[in-house]
Protein backbone atom coordinates (compact mmCIF):
# COMPACT_ATOMS: atom_id res chain seq x y z
CA UNK A 1 0.00 0.00 0.00
CA UNK A 2 2.85 2.39 0.78
CA UNK A 3 4.45 2.09 -2.63
CA UNK A 4 1.74 3.41 -4.94
CA UNK A 5 1.21 6.59 -2.89
CA UNK A 6 4.40 8.45 -3.79
CA UNK A 7 3.80 7.55 -7.42
CA UNK A 8 0.45 9.21 -7.28
CA UNK A 9 1.91 12.36 -5.85
CA UNK A 10 4.50 12.58 -8.59
CA UNK A 11 2.29 11.64 -11.46
CA UNK A 12 -1.40 11.11 -10.91
CA UNK A 13 -1.98 10.29 -14.57
CA UNK A 14 -3.53 7.18 -16.01
CA UNK A 15 -0.16 5.46 -16.56
CA UNK A 16 0.63 5.26 -12.87
CA UNK A 17 -2.87 4.02 -12.27
CA UNK A 18 -2.24 1.26 -14.77
CA UNK A 19 0.95 0.31 -12.96
CA UNK A 20 -0.84 -0.19 -9.68
CA UNK A 21 -3.49 -2.26 -11.39
CA UNK A 22 -0.84 -4.45 -12.93
CA UNK A 23 0.96 -4.90 -9.66
CA UNK A 24 -2.11 -5.95 -7.71
CA UNK A 25 -2.94 -9.43 -9.04
CA UNK A 26 -0.04 -11.44 -7.63
CA UNK A 27 -0.36 -10.55 -3.95
CA UNK A 28 -4.15 -10.40 -4.16
CA UNK A 29 -4.46 -13.81 -5.73
CA UNK A 30 -2.54 -15.66 -3.11
CA UNK A 31 -4.02 -13.81 -0.17
CA UNK A 32 -7.59 -13.76 -1.29
CA UNK A 33 -7.81 -17.36 -2.35
CA UNK A 34 -6.04 -18.67 0.70
CA UNK A 35 -8.41 -16.61 2.83
CA UNK A 36 -11.41 -18.10 1.14
CA UNK A 37 -10.32 -21.68 1.66
CA UNK A 38 -8.88 -21.33 5.15
CA UNK A 39 -11.84 -19.51 6.61
CA UNK A 40 -14.26 -21.64 8.52
CA UNK A 41 -17.86 -21.85 7.41
CA UNK A 42 -19.00 -22.03 11.03
CA UNK A 43 -21.40 -19.42 12.27
CA UNK A 44 -19.78 -16.49 14.03
CA UNK A 45 -21.79 -13.83 15.68
CA UNK A 46 -20.64 -10.92 13.60
CA UNK A 47 -23.52 -8.55 13.25
CA UNK A 48 -23.63 -5.66 10.83
CA UNK A 49 -25.01 -2.44 12.20
CA UNK A 50 -28.38 -1.48 10.81
CA UNK A 51 -27.23 2.00 9.85
CA UNK A 52 -24.33 0.63 7.79
CA UNK A 53 -26.63 -1.86 6.16
CA UNK A 54 -29.23 0.80 5.42
CA UNK A 55 -26.57 3.06 3.97
CA UNK A 56 -25.23 0.39 1.64
CA UNK A 57 -28.72 -0.63 0.65
CA UNK A 58 -29.63 2.96 -0.13
CA UNK A 59 -26.50 3.37 -2.24
CA UNK A 60 -27.30 0.22 -4.17
CA UNK A 61 -30.91 1.26 -4.70
CA UNK A 62 -30.00 4.73 -5.92
CA UNK A 63 -27.31 3.41 -8.28
CA UNK A 64 -29.67 0.92 -9.80
CA UNK A 65 -32.40 3.53 -9.94
CA UNK A 66 -30.20 5.91 -11.90
CA UNK A 67 -29.32 3.19 -14.40
CA UNK A 68 -32.84 2.02 -15.02
CA UNK A 69 -35.29 3.48 -17.49
CA UNK A 70 -38.48 1.90 -16.25
CA UNK A 71 -39.74 0.75 -12.89
CA UNK A 72 -39.94 -2.83 -14.14
CA UNK A 73 -36.28 -2.71 -15.12
CA UNK A 74 -35.37 -1.33 -11.72
CA UNK A 75 -37.24 -4.08 -9.95
CA UNK A 76 -35.73 -6.77 -12.16
CA UNK A 77 -32.22 -5.50 -11.47
CA UNK A 78 -32.78 -5.35 -7.73
CA UNK A 79 -34.24 -8.81 -7.91
CA UNK A 80 -31.12 -10.04 -9.67
CA UNK A 81 -28.89 -8.66 -6.95
CA UNK A 82 -30.82 -10.62 -4.36
CA UNK A 83 -30.82 -13.75 -6.50
CA UNK A 84 -27.08 -14.26 -6.11
CA UNK A 85 -27.43 -14.08 -2.35
CA UNK A 86 -30.21 -16.66 -2.37
CA UNK A 87 -28.00 -19.12 -4.22
CA UNK A 88 -25.27 -18.79 -1.63
CA UNK A 89 -27.59 -18.99 1.34
CA UNK A 90 -29.09 -22.18 -0.03
CA UNK A 91 -25.76 -23.99 0.13
CA UNK A 92 -24.40 -22.33 3.24
CA UNK A 93 -27.42 -22.59 5.52
CA UNK A 94 -28.22 -26.17 4.54
CA UNK A 95 -24.62 -27.13 5.18
CA UNK A 96 -24.67 -25.44 8.56
CA UNK A 97 -27.91 -27.18 9.38
CA UNK A 98 -26.06 -30.48 8.88
CA UNK A 99 -23.78 -29.73 11.80
CA UNK A 100 -24.73 -31.32 15.11
CA UNK A 101 -26.73 -29.12 17.49
CA UNK A 102 -23.92 -28.87 20.01
CA UNK A 103 -21.60 -26.96 17.70
CA UNK A 104 -21.89 -23.23 17.52
CA UNK A 105 -23.38 -23.07 14.06
CA UNK A 106 -26.78 -24.18 15.19
CA UNK A 107 -27.29 -21.25 17.50
CA UNK A 108 -27.72 -19.06 14.48
CA UNK A 109 -31.09 -20.49 13.75
CA UNK A 110 -33.15 -19.43 16.71
CA UNK A 111 -31.20 -16.88 18.66
CA UNK A 112 -34.16 -16.10 20.90
CA UNK A 113 -33.71 -19.13 23.15
CA UNK A 114 -31.89 -18.59 26.41
CA UNK A 115 -29.51 -21.52 26.06
CA UNK A 116 -27.80 -20.00 23.05
CA UNK A 117 -26.85 -16.87 24.91
CA UNK A 118 -25.21 -19.06 27.53
CA UNK A 119 -23.27 -20.82 24.78
CA UNK A 120 -22.07 -17.70 23.12
CA UNK A 121 -18.95 -17.03 25.16
CA UNK A 122 -17.60 -20.47 24.39
CA UNK A 123 -18.54 -20.05 20.77
CA UNK A 124 -16.60 -16.89 20.40
CA UNK A 125 -13.51 -18.44 21.95
CA UNK A 126 -13.77 -21.39 19.61
CA UNK A 127 -14.02 -19.22 16.56
CA UNK A 128 -11.33 -16.88 17.80
CA UNK A 129 -8.88 -19.69 18.32
CA UNK A 130 -9.85 -21.01 14.92
CA UNK A 131 -9.10 -17.81 13.12
CA UNK A 132 -5.90 -17.48 15.10
CA UNK A 133 -4.76 -20.89 14.02
CA UNK A 134 -5.66 -20.15 10.43
CA UNK A 135 -3.76 -16.89 10.54
CA UNK A 136 -0.72 -18.64 11.97
CA UNK A 137 -0.90 -21.22 9.27
CA UNK A 138 -0.99 -18.79 6.43
CA UNK A 139 1.84 -16.88 8.00
CA UNK A 140 4.13 -19.85 8.25
CA UNK A 141 3.24 -20.96 4.76
CA UNK A 142 2.77 -24.66 5.44
CA UNK A 143 -0.96 -25.03 5.81
CA UNK A 144 -1.18 -28.63 4.79
CA UNK A 145 -1.49 -30.79 7.81
CA UNK A 146 -3.67 -29.01 10.29
CA UNK A 147 -6.66 -28.69 7.99
CA UNK A 148 -8.71 -31.68 8.91
CA UNK A 149 -8.70 -31.19 12.65
CA UNK A 150 -8.95 -27.44 12.77
CA UNK A 151 -12.19 -25.57 12.46
CA UNK A 152 -11.31 -24.86 8.86
CA UNK A 153 -12.99 -28.06 7.81
CA UNK A 154 -16.33 -28.68 9.43
CA UNK A 155 -17.01 -31.92 7.62
CA UNK A 156 -15.38 -34.00 10.32
CA UNK A 157 -18.04 -32.80 12.75
CA UNK A 158 -20.92 -33.92 10.57
CA UNK A 159 -22.51 -37.27 11.21
CA UNK A 160 -25.22 -37.12 8.58
CA UNK A 161 -25.76 -34.44 6.02
CA UNK A 162 -29.07 -32.66 6.12
CA UNK A 163 -31.32 -34.13 3.48
CA UNK A 164 -32.22 -32.11 0.46
CA UNK A 165 -35.68 -30.59 0.67
CA UNK A 166 -37.84 -32.09 -2.03
CA UNK A 167 -41.28 -30.97 -0.88
CA UNK A 168 -42.66 -27.47 -1.35
CA UNK A 169 -43.67 -27.25 2.28
CA UNK A 170 -40.29 -28.42 3.58
CA UNK A 171 -38.33 -25.89 1.59
CA UNK A 172 -40.75 -23.07 2.48
CA UNK A 173 -40.47 -23.96 6.15
CA UNK A 174 -36.72 -23.66 5.80
CA UNK A 175 -37.05 -20.21 4.22
CA UNK A 176 -39.59 -19.13 6.82
CA UNK A 177 -37.46 -20.34 9.72
CA UNK A 178 -33.75 -20.63 9.06
CA UNK A 179 -33.24 -18.19 6.22
CA UNK A 180 -35.30 -15.46 7.84
CA UNK A 181 -33.56 -16.00 11.16
CA UNK A 182 -30.18 -15.74 9.45
CA UNK A 183 -31.09 -12.56 7.57
CA UNK A 184 -33.30 -10.72 10.02
CA UNK A 185 -32.73 -12.44 13.37
CA UNK A 186 -36.28 -13.74 13.63
CA UNK A 187 -38.38 -16.26 11.75
CA UNK A 188 -40.88 -14.69 9.37
CA UNK A 189 -44.19 -13.84 10.93
CA UNK A 190 -46.34 -16.19 8.93
CA UNK A 191 -46.32 -18.75 6.17
CA UNK A 192 -49.67 -19.10 4.42
CA UNK A 193 -50.94 -21.19 1.56
CA UNK A 194 -53.29 -19.42 -0.82
CA UNK A 195 -56.81 -20.79 -0.71
CA UNK A 196 -57.56 -19.67 -4.26
CA UNK A 197 -54.61 -20.87 -6.28
CA UNK A 198 -52.70 -24.02 -5.50
CA UNK A 199 -49.31 -22.72 -6.65
CA UNK A 200 -49.29 -19.65 -4.42
CA UNK A 201 -47.75 -19.35 -0.99
CA UNK A 202 -47.22 -16.28 1.13
CA UNK A 203 -44.40 -15.40 3.49
CA UNK A 204 -45.39 -12.56 5.78
CA UNK A 205 -43.05 -10.06 7.40
CA UNK A 206 -44.60 -7.51 9.76
CA UNK A 207 -41.50 -5.31 9.96
CA UNK A 208 -39.33 -5.48 6.84
CA UNK A 209 -35.77 -4.69 7.93
CA UNK A 210 -34.16 -3.61 4.66
CA UNK A 211 -36.82 -1.16 3.56
CA UNK A 212 -37.96 0.25 6.88
CA UNK A 213 -36.45 3.66 6.14
CA UNK A 214 -37.73 3.84 2.59
CA UNK A 215 -41.11 5.51 2.18
CA UNK A 216 -43.47 4.88 -0.67
CA UNK A 217 -44.14 1.73 -2.63
CA UNK A 218 -42.82 -1.77 -2.39
CA UNK A 219 -40.34 -1.66 -5.28
CA UNK A 220 -37.32 -1.88 -3.01
CA UNK A 221 -38.63 -5.08 -1.46
CA UNK A 222 -37.83 -6.83 -4.72
CA UNK A 223 -34.37 -7.30 -3.24
CA UNK A 224 -35.67 -9.70 -0.60
CA UNK A 225 -37.89 -11.27 -3.25
CA UNK A 226 -34.75 -11.94 -5.26
CA UNK A 227 -33.12 -13.67 -2.30
CA UNK A 228 -36.13 -15.94 -1.82
CA UNK A 229 -36.41 -16.56 -5.54
CA UNK A 230 -32.73 -17.41 -5.89
CA UNK A 231 -32.99 -19.77 -2.98
CA UNK A 232 -36.06 -21.62 -4.22
CA UNK A 233 -35.17 -21.68 -7.90
CA UNK A 234 -31.77 -23.24 -7.34
CA UNK A 235 -33.21 -25.77 -4.93
CA UNK A 236 -35.28 -27.04 -7.84
CA UNK A 237 -38.43 -25.00 -7.27
CA UNK A 238 -38.55 -22.38 -10.02
CA UNK A 239 -40.90 -19.59 -9.04
CA UNK A 240 -41.72 -15.89 -9.12
CA UNK A 241 -41.76 -13.83 -5.96
CA UNK A 242 -43.46 -10.44 -5.63
CA UNK A 243 -43.95 -8.13 -2.65
CA UNK A 244 -47.34 -6.77 -1.60
CA UNK A 245 -48.05 -4.32 1.18
CA UNK A 246 -50.95 -5.35 3.38
CA UNK A 247 -51.14 -3.35 6.61
CA UNK A 248 -52.74 -5.19 9.48
CA UNK A 249 -53.04 -4.93 13.26
CA UNK A 250 -51.00 -1.79 13.61
CA UNK A 251 -48.16 -3.02 11.39
CA UNK A 252 -48.62 -0.54 8.57
CA UNK A 253 -45.40 -1.64 6.79
CA UNK A 254 -46.39 -5.31 6.79
CA UNK A 255 -45.20 -7.02 3.60
CA UNK A 256 -46.51 -10.21 2.07
CA UNK A 257 -44.05 -11.99 -0.21
CA UNK A 258 -46.14 -13.88 -2.72
CA UNK A 259 -44.40 -17.00 -4.03
CA UNK A 260 -45.83 -18.33 -7.30
CA UNK A 261 -44.35 -21.67 -8.25
CA UNK A 262 -44.08 -22.72 -11.88
CA UNK A 263 -46.50 -25.31 -13.14
CA UNK A 264 -43.84 -28.01 -13.35
CA UNK A 265 -43.21 -27.80 -9.62
CA UNK A 266 -46.81 -28.65 -8.82
CA UNK A 267 -46.91 -31.37 -11.43
CA UNK A 268 -43.82 -32.97 -9.97
CA UNK A 269 -45.23 -32.63 -6.47
CA UNK A 270 -48.42 -34.30 -7.65
CA UNK A 271 -46.53 -37.18 -9.20
CA UNK A 272 -44.23 -37.76 -6.27
CA UNK A 273 -46.68 -37.23 -3.42
CA UNK A 274 -49.91 -37.92 -5.24
CA UNK A 275 -51.94 -38.83 -2.21
CA UNK A 276 -51.27 -35.54 -0.48
Amino acid sequence: MSQPEPQKIIDPSSSSHKKTVKKLPTPLNTNASSCIYTQSLAFTKNKVSLSAMAFLFQEMVSTIYKNSKTMAEFEAKLNKHGFGIGVRLLELLNFRASLPVTTNSRSSIFPSSSSTSAQNPSNSTVSASGSGAAGGNSGSGSTTDRHSNGPESLTSLINTMKRRDLKILDILQFVHGTVWAYLFDHPSDDLVKSSERSNEYMIVDNMPVFTQFIPGGVSCDFYVCGIVQGFLTNAGFPCRVTPHRMPQDGFDRRIVYLVQFDKQVLEREGLRFGSN
Partner: protein
Protein backbone atom coordinates in the same frame (compact mmCIF):
# COMPACT_ATOMS: atom_id res chain seq x y z
CA UNK B 1 -6.59 -43.40 -10.01
CA UNK B 2 -10.01 -41.79 -10.37
CA UNK B 3 -11.63 -39.29 -12.65
CA UNK B 4 -13.63 -36.64 -10.78
CA UNK B 5 -15.86 -33.89 -12.16
CA UNK B 6 -18.17 -31.19 -10.81
CA UNK B 7 -21.19 -30.62 -13.02
CA UNK B 8 -22.79 -27.19 -12.87
CA UNK B 9 -26.12 -25.89 -14.11
CA UNK B 10 -27.06 -26.90 -17.65
CA UNK B 11 -24.83 -29.96 -17.32
CA UNK B 12 -21.61 -28.06 -17.90
CA UNK B 13 -18.47 -29.43 -16.32
CA UNK B 14 -17.16 -26.66 -14.10
CA UNK B 15 -14.26 -28.68 -12.75
CA UNK B 16 -12.52 -31.89 -13.73
CA UNK B 17 -9.46 -33.62 -12.42
CA UNK B 18 -7.61 -36.89 -12.29
CA UNK B 19 -7.11 -38.13 -8.76
CA UNK B 20 -4.26 -40.47 -8.01
CA UNK B 21 -1.38 -41.03 -5.70
CA UNK B 22 1.39 -40.41 -8.16
CA UNK B 23 2.70 -37.78 -10.49
CA UNK B 24 0.91 -39.23 -13.48
CA UNK B 25 -2.32 -37.55 -12.42
CA UNK B 26 -1.06 -34.36 -14.04
CA UNK B 27 -3.11 -33.92 -17.16
CA UNK B 28 -4.33 -37.48 -16.78
CA UNK B 29 -1.13 -38.94 -18.19
CA UNK B 30 -1.70 -42.04 -16.10
CA UNK B 31 -4.60 -42.96 -18.33
CA UNK B 32 -4.01 -44.45 -21.75
CA UNK B 33 -4.95 -41.71 -24.25
CA UNK B 34 -7.81 -43.58 -25.88
CA UNK B 35 -9.41 -44.03 -22.46
CA UNK B 36 -8.67 -40.55 -21.23
CA UNK B 37 -10.58 -38.93 -24.06
CA UNK B 38 -13.58 -41.11 -23.33
CA UNK B 39 -13.88 -40.16 -19.67
CA UNK B 40 -16.04 -37.02 -20.01
CA UNK B 41 -18.45 -38.91 -22.26
CA UNK B 42 -18.74 -41.76 -19.80
CA UNK B 43 -19.68 -39.45 -16.95
CA UNK B 44 -21.99 -37.41 -19.14
CA UNK B 45 -23.87 -40.55 -20.04
CA UNK B 46 -24.59 -41.30 -16.40
CA UNK B 47 -26.07 -37.86 -15.77
CA UNK B 48 -29.49 -39.19 -16.72
CA UNK B 49 -29.29 -41.59 -13.82
CA UNK B 50 -28.31 -38.79 -11.48
CA UNK B 51 -31.38 -36.83 -12.52
CA UNK B 52 -33.60 -39.85 -12.10
CA UNK B 53 -32.14 -40.53 -8.68
CA UNK B 54 -32.04 -37.09 -7.19
CA UNK B 55 -35.81 -36.77 -7.46
CA UNK B 56 -36.50 -40.48 -7.21
CA UNK B 57 -37.30 -42.89 -4.46
CA UNK B 58 -35.03 -45.44 -2.87
CA UNK B 59 -35.67 -49.16 -2.64
CA UNK B 60 -37.99 -48.71 0.35
CA UNK B 61 -40.16 -46.18 -1.45
CA UNK B 62 -38.89 -43.27 0.63
CA UNK B 63 -37.58 -40.02 -0.76
CA UNK B 64 -34.06 -40.32 -2.01
CA UNK B 65 -33.14 -36.95 -0.59
CA UNK B 66 -29.66 -37.74 0.65
CA UNK B 67 -26.83 -35.75 -0.87
CA UNK B 68 -24.72 -38.83 -1.46
CA UNK B 69 -26.35 -40.93 -4.13
CA UNK B 70 -23.81 -43.70 -3.75
CA UNK B 71 -22.87 -46.24 -6.36
CA UNK B 72 -25.01 -45.17 -9.24
CA UNK B 73 -23.89 -46.66 -12.48
CA UNK B 74 -21.35 -48.96 -14.09
CA UNK B 75 -19.44 -48.41 -17.25
CA UNK B 76 -18.34 -51.89 -18.37
CA UNK B 77 -18.04 -52.81 -14.74
CA UNK B 78 -16.28 -49.63 -13.68
CA UNK B 79 -18.15 -48.08 -10.76
CA UNK B 80 -19.49 -44.52 -10.93
CA UNK B 81 -20.51 -42.67 -7.78
CA UNK B 82 -22.42 -39.40 -7.48
CA UNK B 83 -23.28 -36.67 -5.00
CA UNK B 84 -25.76 -33.81 -5.31
CA UNK B 85 -25.42 -30.53 -3.41
CA UNK B 86 -28.34 -28.49 -2.13
CA UNK B 87 -28.36 -26.29 -5.19
CA UNK B 88 -28.27 -29.22 -7.61
CA UNK B 89 -24.56 -29.15 -8.41
CA UNK B 90 -23.46 -32.70 -9.12
CA UNK B 91 -20.20 -34.40 -8.22
CA UNK B 92 -19.38 -37.52 -10.22
CA UNK B 93 -16.49 -39.91 -10.03
CA UNK B 94 -15.34 -42.81 -12.17
CA UNK B 95 -13.31 -45.27 -10.13
CA UNK B 96 -10.27 -47.08 -11.45
CA UNK B 97 -7.52 -49.11 -9.89
CA UNK B 98 -3.99 -49.77 -11.02
CA UNK B 99 -4.72 -53.29 -12.20
CA UNK B 100 -7.39 -52.08 -14.59
CA UNK B 101 -5.25 -49.24 -15.84
CA UNK B 102 -2.42 -51.62 -16.64
CA UNK B 103 -4.70 -53.89 -18.62
CA UNK B 104 -6.26 -50.98 -20.45
CA UNK B 105 -2.87 -49.56 -21.19
CA UNK B 106 -1.49 -52.75 -22.67
CA UNK B 107 -4.65 -53.28 -24.68
CA UNK B 108 -5.58 -56.56 -23.01
CA UNK B 109 -8.99 -55.05 -22.35
CA UNK B 110 -10.57 -52.58 -24.69
CA UNK B 111 -13.89 -51.22 -23.40
CA UNK B 112 -14.75 -49.84 -26.80
CA UNK B 113 -14.71 -53.18 -28.56
CA UNK B 114 -17.30 -55.62 -27.24
CA UNK B 115 -19.45 -56.65 -24.33
CA UNK B 116 -17.17 -59.46 -23.22
CA UNK B 117 -14.93 -56.89 -21.67
CA UNK B 118 -17.64 -55.96 -19.19
CA UNK B 119 -17.21 -59.25 -17.37
CA UNK B 120 -13.45 -59.00 -17.51
CA UNK B 121 -13.53 -55.50 -16.10
CA UNK B 122 -16.12 -56.27 -13.46
CA UNK B 123 -13.95 -59.08 -12.15
CA UNK B 124 -11.10 -56.74 -11.30
CA UNK B 125 -13.07 -53.52 -10.78
CA UNK B 126 -12.32 -51.56 -7.63
CA UNK B 127 -14.69 -51.95 -4.71
CA UNK B 128 -16.20 -48.60 -3.75
CA UNK B 129 -15.73 -47.90 -0.05
CA UNK B 130 -18.90 -45.91 0.48
CA UNK B 131 -17.90 -44.44 3.83
CA UNK B 132 -14.66 -42.95 2.59
CA UNK B 133 -16.06 -41.80 -0.71
CA UNK B 134 -18.95 -40.06 1.00
CA UNK B 135 -16.64 -38.17 3.35
CA UNK B 136 -14.49 -37.17 0.39
CA UNK B 137 -17.55 -35.77 -1.36
CA UNK B 138 -18.62 -33.88 1.76
CA UNK B 139 -15.22 -32.28 2.06
CA UNK B 140 -15.33 -31.22 -1.57
CA UNK B 141 -18.85 -29.91 -0.97
CA UNK B 142 -17.50 -27.72 1.79
CA UNK B 143 -14.73 -26.49 -0.50
CA UNK B 144 -17.30 -25.77 -3.16
CA UNK B 145 -19.36 -23.71 -0.72
CA UNK B 146 -16.25 -21.75 0.17
CA UNK B 147 -15.69 -21.10 -3.53
CA UNK B 148 -19.27 -19.97 -3.87
CA UNK B 149 -18.90 -17.58 -0.94
CA UNK B 150 -16.46 -15.59 -3.06
CA UNK B 151 -18.57 -12.67 -4.28
CA UNK B 152 -16.64 -12.62 -7.55
CA UNK B 153 -17.50 -16.21 -8.28
CA UNK B 154 -20.86 -16.78 -9.92
CA UNK B 155 -22.69 -20.04 -9.85
CA UNK B 156 -21.85 -22.07 -12.94
CA UNK B 157 -18.46 -20.48 -13.57
CA UNK B 158 -15.57 -22.92 -14.02
CA UNK B 159 -13.51 -23.36 -10.86
CA UNK B 160 -9.98 -22.43 -11.81
CA UNK B 161 -8.36 -21.85 -8.44
CA UNK B 162 -5.16 -23.89 -8.12
CA UNK B 163 -5.69 -23.87 -4.38
CA UNK B 164 -9.04 -25.60 -4.78
CA UNK B 165 -7.36 -28.19 -6.95
CA UNK B 166 -4.58 -28.74 -4.47
CA UNK B 167 -7.06 -29.24 -1.66
CA UNK B 168 -9.11 -31.71 -3.67
CA UNK B 169 -6.00 -33.74 -4.41
CA UNK B 170 -5.00 -33.71 -0.77
CA UNK B 171 -8.44 -34.95 0.19
CA UNK B 172 -8.29 -37.68 -2.38
CA UNK B 173 -4.99 -38.87 -0.95
CA UNK B 174 -6.53 -39.04 2.49
CA UNK B 175 -9.81 -40.75 1.65
CA UNK B 176 -9.52 -42.55 -1.65
CA UNK B 177 -6.14 -44.29 -1.59
Amino acid sequence: MNYFVIVGPKDKFIYETYLGNSKDTVGGSGFPPHIRDLLPFILHSSLDLVYANKWGKDSEGLDNSRCYLGLLDFFFGLPITAYVTYSGIMFLMLHFNNQILRKLDTGIIDPTSNSKTAKQLAAIAPRVKNGYVEVFYREVHELYIKTLMNPFYHMGDPITSPLFSRKVHRLSKRYLH
